[in-house]
């Protein structure tokens, strides 16, 4: 957010004045890294809670009663794929290739939306099988942990939508940096899912 706006679609758009930064890292990027550091403790507390409550449910349904390895693997693959799309979106934003940037950003958003649909399906089917917030400790910790992760994905989709709208509308000074900053968030949320997928799902199938 600055005074100047650059017309990114025009190859002759004037370059924004370089931002004053002692570290050389743009302010929004540094702020995002700081936020992600904070978010590590946020998910750290949630995952820690899940792990410390693991196997302490007094009654079913237990994880293996409800988990469907194929479905969750598919949704995990979809989310990881969206990270690849995100990388391409950042790449084309830096090259100021707006059509390709738009294409890959929309694909990333679709990837996020598909993941959320998988989660909605999973949540409803689990509830049908009797797993609720109240049913047991597994239900409570599972829904809160994956629910907060899902909320992060949903916010990511919203951020990408706003990014698309503001880059195409010329509301951002440097589309490359802005996309990269939102990309950092997107990859972080992906990495958290890899941890959740491993610790919450895969670990159950090892025993």
């Amino acid at each position: 957010m600055s005074t100047a706006t650059a017309d990114l679609t025009s190859p002759h758009g004037h370059e924004p004045a370089p931002e004053y930064s002692v570290t050389g890292v743009p302010a929004y990027k540094l702020a995002m890294w700081t936020f992600l550091g904070s978010d590590c403790f946020f998910f750290g507390s949630l995952i820690g809670t899940y792990m410390s409550c693991r196997g302490k449910s007094l009654n079913g349904p237990y994880p293996l009663d409800v988990f469907e390895a194929a479905v969750t693997s598919l949704s995990t693959f979809d989310l990881l794929l969206s990270s690849l799309f995100m990388v391409l979106a950042v790449h084309y934003a830096k090259l100021r290739d707006i059509p390709k940037f738009t294409f890959w950003t929309v694909l990333t958003m679709i990837g996020g939306a598909i993941f959320l649909s998988f989660q909605a399906y999973e949540f409803t089917s689990f509830v049908h099988e009797g797993l609720t917030l109240q049913s047991n400790l597994f239900g409570a910790t599972f829904f809160v942990l994956t629910g907060f992760h899902g909320a992060h994905v949903a916010i990511g989709v919203l951020l990408l939508g706003s990014l698309l709208w503001s880059v195409r509308g010329g509301h951002v000074v440097d589309a490359g940096i802005t996309t990269e900053v939102i990309g950092l968030y997107w990859h972080f949320v992906d990495i958290v899912w890899i941890l959740i997928f491993t610790l919450v799902y895969l670990l159950e199938f090892t025993s």
Binding site: D39, C53, K56, N136, L137, T141
Partner: protein, 627 residues
């Protein structure tokens, strides 16, 4: 409004003055509500903190009156629980933290040679959100006569489960507490991101990390502690909220949950929080002592690295609050060791402060007296802290008044003394006026004597077995005389604070602005600016050559700093209402959970409306011109 201001004092009246004569009262008020100037936000933080500090003090006086003699019935036990809960919560989250934030806001941009923080509107947002949190925590006092349930938070500032669960706290008291703390947490974290980026990115040319003033360094460490520790309590509170409103069993043993989970999550936040409270005061004292000893801070890099070490170790000691829960010998031993380790960097700091004043030409101003008081009182609090680090000793002292004595020596004798030193030291910078030195001596005397009269006997009654948080006690246990003395001491402190507030108002009303840029012959960059500083702080961004730029330049010890010749484009962001809007939206959204606890549908509708308002605020924030 890209103001091409080239240091025209007529265009930029003193930012702290009550506006120019031809301004209407409403416009003046609006200019404060819409401000994104870090100095004004600092003053807003300071005044709000002072208000809440007095509120917490009144709660403390009622507590002390109730305990003055055995068997008194000044308040009933339920009210007593609410009072000690709100006293602790208020002093920590609404007193000391925002008072520190007042100094961060006012001083950090000045000390690093910047015009403002990196995200000025986010800074305003943090303040308004903090104020919303303070209001939500305290509004139950007003609500109580109109509702037939308990609404004033009464589960202790630590909110231990299962006491805070629906079964044992059926009213809305804990819901108000959860909601207020969540809001305050978001406000603090937003400020944390802002200040970390500000300190890293906005330093003036030549201001390397090790040339930064120690106060700015301690601010940086504190912001890291804030952004890393608050997520833990956020999760702890979310789980408590789910237990209370959605029937989960995170902390309820009957459902397989574990009350100790709360304690782990809470103290993972709670112990870094202790350093969030004390490190700013350590930073202030590290500025005040060298100035009034006319010596550089002894071993400044050691003071800085000790601060960093304290911050890091602060994340590894939380279970020393839980020695009595039976974590096992291995856990107890390791947490005892890490706790004792913290005594090393803390001791380094204390010896560095002593070496700073050693052989100095001391000027015993009020600021210096409070700083010296800090060093003595904090050391006493530190020594009793080392005693608790030993699990067998802690088993005796836990939940006794000995612990109350310990943390008041650290947080009042430490943090509050440090903040008072800071007020006396920087008041001339903020207002252009001096606080009265003769009143200052009396105020220091009252606060110092009152403080020790109140809290020293608590060591004795605590060792004699008097438990904390009891509403009254029986005669004949040998606790009567110390308790009477403690109560008398509390009122001595109250008189000290009263005189301080009177002097503050008196000096703001009556005195001429005579301070000048550098009244104390100090060393850091804020003393280059006018007192009070212009809206844009510096006409020209200074270039820094040493860690004591102003002192070096004044005394010809080196180039110190220079102000390059020429004109600079100065961009002052226009006033904005967006921070207030977004703060109200976020507070409203979180308060909807509170409403949902009483009427689910109403809460859901309220949350949806709040979300819509939040999205509107975000987008209009983003699109606002001039930022």
């Amino acid at each position: 409004m890209a103001t091409p201001a080239h240091a025209d004092p007529a265009v930029h009246p003193a930012s702290t003055a009550a506006g120019s004569e031809n301004q209407s009262y409403g416009a003046w008020l609006l200019s404060w509500i819409m401000t994104s100037d870090h100095k004004r936000i600092g003053i807003l933080y300071g005044l709000s903190a002072l208000f809440f500090f007095v509120l917490g003090g009144i709660e403390a006086l009622i507590i002390r009156t109730q305990l003055a003699r055995p068997g008194l019935h000044v308040v009933d036990p339920a009210t007593y629980n609410a009072l000690f809960t709100m006293h602790g919560t208020t002093m920590i989250f609404l007193g000391v933290m925002p008072f520190s934030a007042a100094f961060f806001n006012y001083l950090v941009p000045l000390q690093i040679g910047a015009r403002d923080v990196i995200f000025p509107r986010l800074n305003a947002f943090s303040f308004w959100l903090f104020l919303c949190g303070g209001i939500i925590l305290n509004v139950p006092f007003v609500l109580t006569p109109f509702v037939d349930m308990r609404v004033i938070p009464d589960g202790g500032w630590f909110g231990y489960a299962t006491l805070t669960e629906k079964e044992y706290s059926p009213g809305a008291s804990i819901d108000f507490w959860v909601c207020g703390l969540q809001i305050l947490g978001i406000a603090s974290m937003a400020a944390g991101f802002n200040f970390i980026v500000t300190i890293f990115n906005l330093r003036a040319p030549g201001m390397t990390l090790l040339r930064m003033p120690v106060f700015t360094w301690m601010t940086l460490v504190v912001q890291f502690l804030v952004v890393l520790s608050f997520p833990c309590i956020t999760i702890a509170l979310v789980l408590l909220l789910f237990d209370r409103q959605f029937g989960t069993h995170f902390y309820i043993p009957e459902g397989g949950g574990d009350p100790l989970l709360w304690q782990h999550l809470f103290w993972l936040f709670g112990h870094p929080e202790v350093y969030i409270l004390i490190l700013p005061a350590m930073g202030i004292v590290s500025e005040v002592l060298p100035t009034f000893s006319r010596k550089p801070l002894f071993g400044a890099p050691f003071v800085i690295f000790s601060g960093i070490t304290i911050g890091l170790l602060g994340f590894g000691v939380w279970s020393h609050h839980m020695f009595t829960t039976g974590l096992g010998a291995a856990a107890d031993a390791s947490f005892a060791v890490t706790t004792m380790l913290i005594a090393i960097p803390t001791g380094v700091k204390i010896f560095n402060w002593l070496a700073t004043i050693w052989g100095g030409q001391l000027r015993l101003t009020t600021a210096m007296l409070f700083a010296l008081g800090f060093v003595c009182m904090f050391t006493m609090g530190g020594l009793s802290g080392i005693m608790h680090a030993s699990p067998p000793v802690d088993l005796q002292q836990q939940d006794s008044y000995f612990v109350v004595a310990h943390f008041h020596y650290v947080l009042f004798g430490g943090a509050v003394f440090g903040l008072l030193a800071g007020i006396y030291y920087w008041f001339p910078k903020m207002s252009g006026r001096f606080l009265s030195e003769s009143w200052g001596r009396v105020i220091f005397g009252l606060v110092f004597v009152g403080f020790n009269t109140t809290f020293f006997p608590m060591h004795i009654v605590g060792a004699a077995g008097m438990p904390r948080r009891i509403f009254t006690y029986e005669a004949g246990l040998g606790w009567e005389i110390p308790n009477m003395i403690e109560t008398a001491g509390a009122f001595i402190i109250a008189f000290g604070v009263l005189f301080f507030i009177i002097d503050l108002i008196r000096c703001m009303m009556a005195k001429e602005m005579t301070a000048g840029p550098n009244p104390w012959d100090a060393s850091s960059l804020e003393w280059v600016c006018d007192s009070p500083p212009k809206v844009h702080n510096f006409d020209i961004t200074p270039v820094v050559y040493s860690d004591r730029p102003v002192f070096d330049k004044t005394h010809g010890l080196g180039p110190g700093y220079s102000l390059p010749v020429g004109h600079e484009h100065i961009h002052i962001p226009p006033p904005s209402l967006r921070p207030l809007f977004l703060a109200i939206a976020v507070a409203w959204f979180l308060a909807s959970w509170l409403i949902a606890g009483q009427a689910m549908m109403l809460g859901v509708v309220s949350a949806l409306l709040a979300t819509a308002f939040m999205l509107y605020s975000c987008f209009s924030w983003f699109l606002e011109p001039g930022h």
